[in-house]
Assembly symmetry: C2
Homo-oligomer: 576 residues x 2
């Protein structure tokens, strides 16, 4: 008991030091943000040309903010009630993040010719050295590792209400018992998610998570329940990214688009079907020549008797084969200068099909064909190249009717934040799976006469990985709470950015712990590794999120604050 | 001209600063090495238990040394004759490496309770800040990136003699014209390297690179020619890691084992055949229960009339199907306590076979069966699980004859350094391929109305990747020269460590630049990414090299120096 009390006291004191350092770091971060904002908006408004010129600095700023918020969130989540393992992991994660933020800020200060002294003072702060030694030194990594490799270790806990805990348990159980046994085969043979997985998921209501009860869904009426979506997604992704954890993304995006822009009739007709997972749906936005550049999309929608004709190509449309309903973004205003204001949203019905290609012809001559793009991972739903030739869509399938014309981009965006949170949760699930596989392997495998898990370097790698996962998980759930309270849009991108990159690192190290076996397709960790690689690419590529969402938002805020300060200063002077 | 002169002068001055900082850093590194050596060998000899306890510090030390030597080598390679692009990349690489060494040393100083002040002084050195700003700041990364994306940019040049330059050109041409067109199919369909690749490689003499001319090879008599092996390997690996660049590894290891331990008769009989690539060969060391732990190998060799019977299992035996000759490490002394002194080396003849499994039965009842292990990359040769059942090997196939009994481990080790250099060269080839793919894609692909390569963040990523490749390449070639001059054994592990980890990072970023297309199997970069992942696992896993080879060697040297200093000090005091 005395030992336990002493450890608790030491961890609590470390937590206080970390919180103090993070406060200092936040102020230094703000200074960099202000300076960069003024560099990109010397006349009081951000200029696109200057933002482009400063991409590298913007990228550093976005990552610094990401790591900083993650560390603040983790440290903020610690309390005297936190178990020793999570307390240790939280502090390891905080130390890693602080070190990373310091590096980014040094780059920024150099780039912006700011005085380096305040950063160097912080870097040389004896409490910072002390924190590194006590929390992230070899003996501390080993102590966390021993707890982590102990029997029934639970790590990365977040405080959840009872219904969420129950959902987590139920979906973890389902994932382990039903999904996991099929996951390897689906991946290695590049199969389509079978009905034996889809049907129970329909029955468990996962396709209706974003849909209010009055439309047949399992979501609450009149508000979002991001946390539930995150819980379910993470649990399913632990067994399979593509064959389970990603199934919710598509109905999530389409449901939010319909809730935002659909006519009452469209909502009443489609939402209950989507909630039931019948038909399954897919989202067709990206085009072969345009990835993140939505404003340049060129698939054409032209008026014809009774509706519209779609002509053009889409790509990376995941699940388009199995889906019976596609949400298609099309250009209805032929004037390219209209940019994203010329885009509208169509619902395209098609027969569901298994396999890697389909060719659907309408009686009146229209055609929609699809061909799956083979990928190194994320297999099970298949991502399709689509070709639309004079494909007819009736008037009633234009989302929002005539009122919805030109609002396709806006309706689409409504689902994007959810998609990003969903992706952060998917990354968390993949990380947890990789860590559990590495823990298992390290416990079983003997080298030089002792289990791998008895060696300090292995313990250190496991601890660092679990700390990364813990930080991502705390951040993801915290942002989920923000969204449910009406905020957190920028932070959703930030959680996505961190969790996806972390998933690459954690799966990489988990594979390494397996040695040669990790590279074999029969080891699930090889699948986690290739699956994790897609996360930083889709649902907002890393660079797009960092530059166009996060940095942009930070700089806008910083510029506003700077202007306010200037005005206050002027007012102050005026009053003086 | 004036601009060119000014740039040259600025780069030269930066080089001088970098060299000075590296000198300071080397002294601080030595201090950490000495302190760690004393911690692991308080009584004047390293103790296994203490080395194990200090694994995390040993790992940091090995990596610090690796990055430090790479930076020293790159900076040492720069001269006023170096082109602007390579000069810029060299300095970018040096700045990255110095930053990384500083981080590792901080960990070590904290761990060893050394005074942090000298490190903090270096970190706060205005010349260090200046170097970062001028060499690795956004505008410098962009300047390097513009040169890199310019027409016919050549990067990562090393100074080579005429025969090496000719070989490099010839094998790069062969790789591009003959290997590259088949590489994707071999990977995606998991085929066996076809004769259409093997036959011309036989004719070009690549299987005899490690074999002296008097034994029918293309290597020089009486000395090693590591550089030629590195040149050829890198060039071939650029087109395909497994279907070309890795073909030399096996004859390299077997030839060196035979040259070291074979009887005259064995050398005269086998070396010309190996040099001709007929039969092809494979190396069977690893066993299912023992990876890097060679001393515990348990496949049994027992005497029988006229020879030996082999019984047991091997795993990860690459190319065992196609090979007609296996080099097998077997335990001939049943006393386990004999450790690696109980191991002997056998030459096992078998029919060459295509495909993923084989089952070879001897007339007298012996059996050798093999089954390929499916892997996420490194496909084309297949890595086999092997099972030996009363497999008969005649006396003449025991390497070294009765004299060779118990020396199998020692003979095997003779080829390991070459294998590590070969792997560093393979990693360089994969990096160059990934960079060239990313450069091509970034030039072709338009986003937001301009080529990807026109954006500063893309240019920065390309520059950092090319700088990493350049550092690895300089180090690999420098160590190749050391080996040819009779030294460099530890450094070979260090070059392997750096190049393999860097290949993971460079292929990751190259894939990211491709966006979604990078994740598609039709993009070669997706293959480079999964192929790169094997490099840190085989031919000495990262952890094994860092702890058992590099740190061990550094600490032994540091301990010797410390003892010498102590003696000198004592002598000095005695004299005083």
């Amino acid at each position: 008991m005395a030992r336990e009390q002493a450890v608790k006291a030491a961890l609590e004191s470390d937590r206080e030091v970390a919180a103090r350092l993070l406060g200092d770091l936040r102020r230094r971060f703000q200074q960099a943000a202000s300076a960069l904002a003024l560099a990109c908006g010397p006349d009081g408004a951000l200029e696109a040309r200057l933002l482009d010129e400063r991409q590298v600095a913007c990228y550093d700023l976005a990552w610094a903010c990401t790591d900083l918020l993650a560390a603040e969130t983790v440290v903020g989540s610690l309390s005297p009630d936190t178990g020793e393992l999570d307390a240790r992991l939280g502090l390891i994660g905080a130390v890693e993040a602080i070190g990373s933020v310091l590096g980014r800020l040094e780059n920024l200060y150099l780039e912006l010719s700011l005085d380096l002294a305040p950063l160097q003072d912080l870097a040389a702060d004896p409490q910072w050295a002390g924190l590194r030694r006590t929390c992230a030194g070899a003996s501390s990594l080993a102590a966390a590792g021993r707890l982590l490799t102990g029997p029934d270790a639970e790590f990365g806990r977040v405080a959840l209400d009872e219904p969420l805990v129950m959902a987590q348990e139920a979906f973890r159980r389902f994932a382990a018992q039903v999904v996991a046994p099929q996951a390897e085969q689906i991946h290695r043979q590049d199969l389509t998610v079978p009905e034996s997985l889809l049907q129970p998921l329909r029955e468990m209501g996962v396709f209706g998570l974003a849909i209010p009860e009055r439309f047949g869904g399992t979501g609450p009426d009149g508000r979002e329940d991001t946390l539930m979506m995150v819980v379910v997604t993470e649990a399913l992704s632990e067994a399979s990214l593509a064959a389970a954890g990603s199934l919710i993304t598509r109905p999530e995006i389409l449901a939010r688009a319909l809730l935002t822009g659909g006519t009452e009739q469209q909502k009443a007709h489609w939402l209950p079907k989507l909630a039931a997972g019948d038909p399954l749906c897919a989202i067709a936005i990206t085009e072969p020549d345009f990835g993140s550049d939505v404003a340049s999309l060129s698939l054409k929608g032209t008026r014809t008797a009774g509706g519209w004709l779609l002509n053009g190509a889409k790509t990376w449309c995941t699940f388009a084969g199995k889906a019976g309903l596609l949400m298609v973004v099309a250009r209805t205003d032929p004037d390219r200068a209209a940019g994203h204001k010329g885009l509208s949203l169509f619902l395209v019905e098609k027969p569901s099909s298994e396999g890697h290609h389909f060719d659907y012809r309408q009686d009146r001559g229209g055609r929609l064909s699809g061909k799956a793009i083979p990928t190194i991972g994320y297999r099970g739903m298949h991502s399709f190249d689509l070709s639309f030739d004079d494909f007819f869509v009736p008037h009633g399938h234009l989302v929002g009717g005539e009122q919805g014309l030109g609002k396709g981009f806006y309706f689409t965006m409504a689902g994007m934040t959810g998609g990003r949170m969903q992706t952060a949760a998917r990354a968390c699930g993949v990380m947890r799976a990789a860590l559990r596989a590495a823990l298992q392997y390290a416990g079983d495998r003997k080298v030089f006469g002792a289990p791998l898990a008895s060696f300090p370097l292995t313990l250190a790698k496991l601890s660092v990985g679990a700390a990364r996962y813990g930080a991502c998980r705390q951040l993801t759930y915290a942002v989920g709470r923000m969204l449910d309270a009406g905020g957190g849009r920028m932070e959703a991108s930030l959680a996505k950015l961190l969790a996806c990159r972390s998933a690459e690192m954690v799966t990489r190290d988990a594979l390494q712990i397996h040695g040669g076996m990790g590279y074999a397709e029969e080891s699930p960790v090889s699948r986690y590794f290739v699956d994790a690689r897609v996360l930083s690419i889709f649902e907002g590529a890393e660079e797009t999120l960092a530059l166009k969402v996060i940095a942009r938002s930070l700089l806008e805020d910083a510029l506003k604050d700077a202007l306010k300060d200037a005005l206050n200063g002027a007012g102050g002077r005026g009053r003086g």
